[in-house]
């Protein structure tokens, strides 16, 4: 029982990271029906910005995270403007291929600029401490990751539910043309969505750096794909779905590693994708509405 609880503790941190990345996938999909395959790489860029903020600027971890979030918000807005906006009225496959192109571009421009080798997150930025809670070993990095992720999700929920910007985002994702008739600027709203989604990915990147202590230019690929599975599991386009899906994926992965073999954890993650697509393609929170013609 103790071991099981310990696995849950481990799974929660990983799940929090997946959930933050999954939110960006789902928000962007909700508003422009695009799977932004470059999203995992934005998380990687965020991790590097965090790394340089810690090492070159000598900031603390919180400042590093905020810096990464701001930088990636800007990056997200630029990517949307340059790569996706010109394709707004083209086929979805054209935008999807472009997203893969952006993904490869971010990966290899980072390798070109910084080299392919991994960099070690400075340990002094986040000295690891372990707490003993009734036999459970809880690391301060677990607490840091889960608490900051939950705080970010609460802020996001507040923005989406209560602010004018958040309501406009929902309106645009529900009916773009009707939103225009309200006087909502669709371009501006899409930019804000990319900014928020990318900032959350950047936060996840810095957490990932703290959690695994290394960053490298290809680090975004696998977590990005798993977060995508998490977003589909929860129901793509549905924000609470992405949160729940992210945590479920994290828990599943640590359970498979803990009780099965860590060799299978990636296979299980993508097995989940196949299962959802077979059984309930709209995801846990999705309603079967069918495609509107």
């Amino acid at each position: 029982m103790l071991e099981f609880t310990q696995q849950i503790v481990n799974g929660l941190s990983l799940g929090a990271i997946y959930a933050l990345i999954a939110l960006g996938y789902t928000m962007v999909y909700g508003i422009i029906k695009l799977i932004n395959f470059a999203h995992g790489d934005i998380m990687m860029v965020g991790a590097f910005v965090g790394y340089f903020s810690l090492t070159l600027l000598g900031t603390n971890i919180m400042v590093a995270m905020v810096t990464a979030m701001i930088a990636c918000a800007v990056l997200g807005v630029i990517i949307e403007k340059v790569a996706y906006r010109p394709l707004r009225n083209s086929t979805r496959i054209a935008a999807l291929i472009t997203a893969i192109g952006v993904s490869l571009f971010l990966e290899y421009i980072t390798i070109f600029l910084l080299g392919p080798s991994q960099k070690v997150f400075p340990e002094s930025a986040f000295p690891i401490k372990a707490y003993d809670l009734a036999g459970l070993s809880v690391l301060n990095k677990d607490i840091f990751v889960v608490v900051s992720a939950v705080v970010l999700m609460l802020i996001l929920q507040y923005i989406i539910k209560w602010t004018k910007t958040g309501k406009a985002m929902r309106a645009v994702s529900l009916d773009q043309e009707a939103a225009v008739l309200m006087g909502i600027s669709v371009d501006k709203t899409i930019s804000i969505t990319f900014a928020i989604g990318s900032a959350l990915a950047a936060a996840a990147g810095v957490m990932y750096g703290v959690y695994y202590s290394t960053v490298n230019p290809l680090m975004g690929i696998i977590p990005g794909l798993k977060a995508f599975v998490a977003a589909v599991l929860g129901g793509i386009g549905i924000i609470p779905g992405a949160m729940v899906g992210g945590f479920l994926m994290g828990l599943l992965e640590t359970m498979v590693s803990g009780y099965g073999s860590s060799l299978y954890r990636d296979a299980v993650a993508f097995g989940v994708l196949i299962l959802i697509l077979l059984i309930k393609p709209t995801g846990l929170f999705g309603k079967d509405t069918g495609e509107k013609v």
């Binding site: 004018k164 309501k167 406009a168 929902r170 309106a171 529900l174 009916d175 043309e177 009707a178 939103a179 225009v180 008739l181 309200m182 006087g183 909502i184 600027s185």
Partner: protein, 234 residues
């Protein structure tokens, strides 16, 4: 107040509006009637800036609209009740109304307008926390009208507000349109229900395959043999 001159609008190769010229005088109800696919919705979409004409102009209060961004057009006082209501289904009634006032910053006056909408449509007040998608067709139409009113329009464009509603409700909706007009809002009403539209409108245009084929005082058109046989069922 609003005048379109020789509008040509295309959907790809399809010539949807052909040299369309209409005029809406301040304070009146003008109706545009015609069959399905004649170009009624296209006309409203072009005025709102969702579609751009290839040729021609739309002048609203001395401003050329064809190059103005759609959100600016709303700001200038033109709002639309779109065809098929198009309420934001998974947002509450209240949020839908707030979206109607998206560009406004005068909080106090917005609250007053919200109260006015609720006085006009008490059903919406009862259901203000409900998701718009759970409302009945008639209630959704009321919400779409209320939402457009929240922008405090000077010119209200209405696209088939009677569509899919029971006859009794249609009557109610037309009473409301008349009342909105009497309280000072100019209305351009697009309808397939020619009889109802002509009964409340001052001026009317008949559109067929993108062209205005007939126009005049609404009551004259009501008695015209052409309109009677084609649109009023004999």
């Amino acid at each position: 107040m609003l005048r379109s001159v020789d509008l040509d609008v295309y959907y790809g190769a399809i010539h949807a509006l052909k040299k369309l010229s209409i005029e809406v005088e301040q304070g009146t109800i003008v109706t545009l009637i015609g069959a399905n696919g004649a170009g009624k919705t296209t006309t409203l979409k072009t005025i709102s800036g969702l579609l751009r004409p290839r040729n021609g102009s739309i002048v609203y209060k001395n401003t050329e609209l064809t190059k103005v961004a759609p959100e600016k057009i709303v700001e200038m006082g033109i709002s639309q009740v779109p065809e098929g209501r198009r309420v934001f289904a998974s947002m509450s009634v209240l949020e839908n109304l707030e979206m109607g006032a998206y560009l406004r910053k005068d909080k106090k006056a917005m609250a007053d307008d919200m109260e006015n909408v609720f006085t006009r449509f008490p059903r919406l007040k009862e259901r203000r926390k409900q998701m718009a998608g759970t409302l009945s067709g008639g209630e959704q139409q009321m919400l779409a009208i209320g939402r457009a009113l929240m922008a405090r329009p000077q010119l209200l464009l209405m696209d088939e507000p009677s569509m899919g509603l029971a006859p009794l409700l249609v009557k109610e909706i037309f009473e409301i349109i008349k009342d909105i007009n009497e309280k000072g809002t100019t209305i351009l009403l697009v309808e397939q229900n020619a009889h109802m539209a002509l009964s409340i409108a001052h001026k009317a245009y008949v559109i067929e395959t993108g062209e205005i084929v007939l126009h005049g005082e609404a009551k004259d058109l009501m008695n015209s043999e052409e309109v009677k046989s084609a649109y009023l069922g004999g």
